[in-house]
Amino acid sequence: MSRVSARSAQKLAMVCIWGAGVITVFTVLSIIGYVLVRGLPHISWSLLTTLPKGGLSGEGGISSSIVTTFYLIAFTMVILVPLGIGAAIYLAEYAPDNKLTRLIRYGVETLAGVPSIVFGLFGFALFVTALHFRFSILAGALTLVCLLLPTLIRTSEEALRTVPRSHREAALALGATKWQTIWRVILPAAIPGIVTGGILCMGRAVGETACLYVTMGGSAAMPTSLLSGGRTLSMSLFYLATDTNAIEKAMAVGVVLIITIIVINAITNWFSQRFRARMAGGA
């Protein structure tokens, strides 16, 4: 290829690349911007603190959704975190190179590819129906645990593997047992990375709709216990958009969701930077 045509090919390519960039930026800004512009004016203290009253015009606020979302995420994390970290510890520190390990990894990878609605159906069949939890925060939380488990396992395992080998050796040489090494040295060193993964999971949970849509029932009432049904913020958005004509309220909920994600992203970034700095100082 001659120098001249190579240069003009490059010019053309760069134009296309920048064009793609502009289109994407435009899309980014319009999606987020549109929701913010239309929704922000409708965010008010009363929106956040009154109960939804239902009806075609979507009267009321979203207080019950906020509370439901909070309880749902809290309960999900309480089960998810020990389970996920335990599995990650096994995979990073104990797992030998055998069939069982391969089976476990196959399970984790395949589970990660199952769509949310399928988890929802499973949750519906098992938790809602077979175990008689009925439409409830409990059923939703257990379903979310199944959905998020592969993600937490993967991020936690990565965090554990970043801890340098030399720490394990030093601890063993001092007479620690394997579990003591894990519990006192490796896990503490990997905490920032694990927390980052946990926060990521919380972010995903906040945005999840499909699997909760079929396990939580969608009741607009304030939840009284884990066995109460309810609707999360993202479910509210869906109901407001499709069952009522209160588009402005739906936009407002969208704003709440977007702000939540922004905050979560910021916290995650801060944590992972701290994690990298800590590890960089190590041997």
């Binding site: 289109i23 399928v118 069949a125 709709t209 958005l237 869906f238 977007i258």
Partner: protein
């Protein structure tokens, strides 16, 4: 300190149990879904279920071909737009854009990856559908679905592809430039091929997300269980079909929805396996997810 050894041994068992949870859950999903789906398969027959073109629970008709086609069309449409656009943006961010631009764009892309799908659906409903209505039809259409899905998968493709391009060893780039290649030639002939497995992984992830998307598709596709004949016509996806009807379906109808889930899951497995083969042939195997 004998308790030390007891703790050591029992903790190994404990974490093994935790690790097995994933496989157990997967097995449980498979068992439950199949069990619930069996009545439908038995009553309707596998072939009639897969290739029947009429889905009308009231008339006891359960053919999911319209939904299969709907899922494929919408996903394919989104990919056709999102893949070139996404790779181009990834190249932009990784190699071409000045640092300031990247510092601003990259967090924006990451933010988009986390935006819930219902928000995309909402914007689709309120912005895209009316726009398409101007062109023709009711607005609730394949076109709207494609646009919304493109918006959803684009950030994923961009962020993962950009990471992959950045991860290519500097020595490759320097070697190419030292041989007299232009920047673009280096990008297109060296960096992108070297980042191939990561880019393909991002596409597979995007496909998974697109095919599995339920709520946003309900909001913009119109949900008519017919084989889409035009871009401006309505359609329905497998996932959307399940979500739309499961709350009030009973008996065979409910079983048919579970059967739909089985088909959906199988489709995703097939796509993942194909991707794994493509990756392996490229010489590097990487985890899909």
């Amino acid at each position: 300190m004998k308790s030390r050894y007891l703790i050591d041994r029992s903790s190994k068992v404990l974490v093994l149990v935790c690790a097995s949870a994933s496989f157990v859950i997967l097995l449980a999903i498979a068992i439950f879904t199949l069990k619930e789906a069996l009545p439908a398969f038995r009553q309707v027959g596998l072939l009639h279920f897969l290739f029947g073109t009429e889905w009308s629970p009231r008339n006891n008709e359960f053919g999911i071909l319209p939904m299969i086609v709907g899922s494929i069309v919408v996903t394919a449409g989104a990919l056709i737009i999102a893949v070139p656009l996404g790779i181009a943006c990834a190249i932009l961010l990784a190699e071409v854009a000045p640092v300031r631009v990247r510092q601003f764009l990259r967090p924006a892309v990451e933010l988009l990856v986390g935006i819930p799908s219902v928000v995309y659906g909402l914007v689709g409903m309120v912005l895209v559908v009316p726009l398409i209505r101007h062109i023709g039809g009711s607005g609730y259409s394949v076109a709207a679905g494609v646009i919304v899905l493109t918006g959803m998968v684009l950030p994923t493709i961009i962020s993962i592809s950009e990471d992959s391009i950045r991860a290519v060893p500097k020595s490759y780039k320097e070697g190419a430039l030292a041989l007299g290649a232009t920047h673009w030639q280096t990008i297109w002939r060296v960096l992108v091929p070297a980042a191939r497995s990561g880019i393909i992984a991002s596409i597979v992830l995007a496909v998974g997300r697109a095919i599995g998307e339920a709520m946003a598709m309900i909001m913009v596709l119109g949900n008519a269980p017919v084989i889409p004949t035009s871009i401006l016509g309505p359609a329905r996806t497998l996932a959307g079909s399940i979500a739309a009807e499961v709350n009030y379906a009973g008996g065979v109808h409910q079983s048919a929805l579970f059967a739909t889930a089985v088909v959906l899951f199988l489709m995703i497995m097939i796509i993942n396996s194909v991707a794994l083969i493509v990756l392996r042939r490229g010489g590097r195997v990487q985890s899909i997810c």
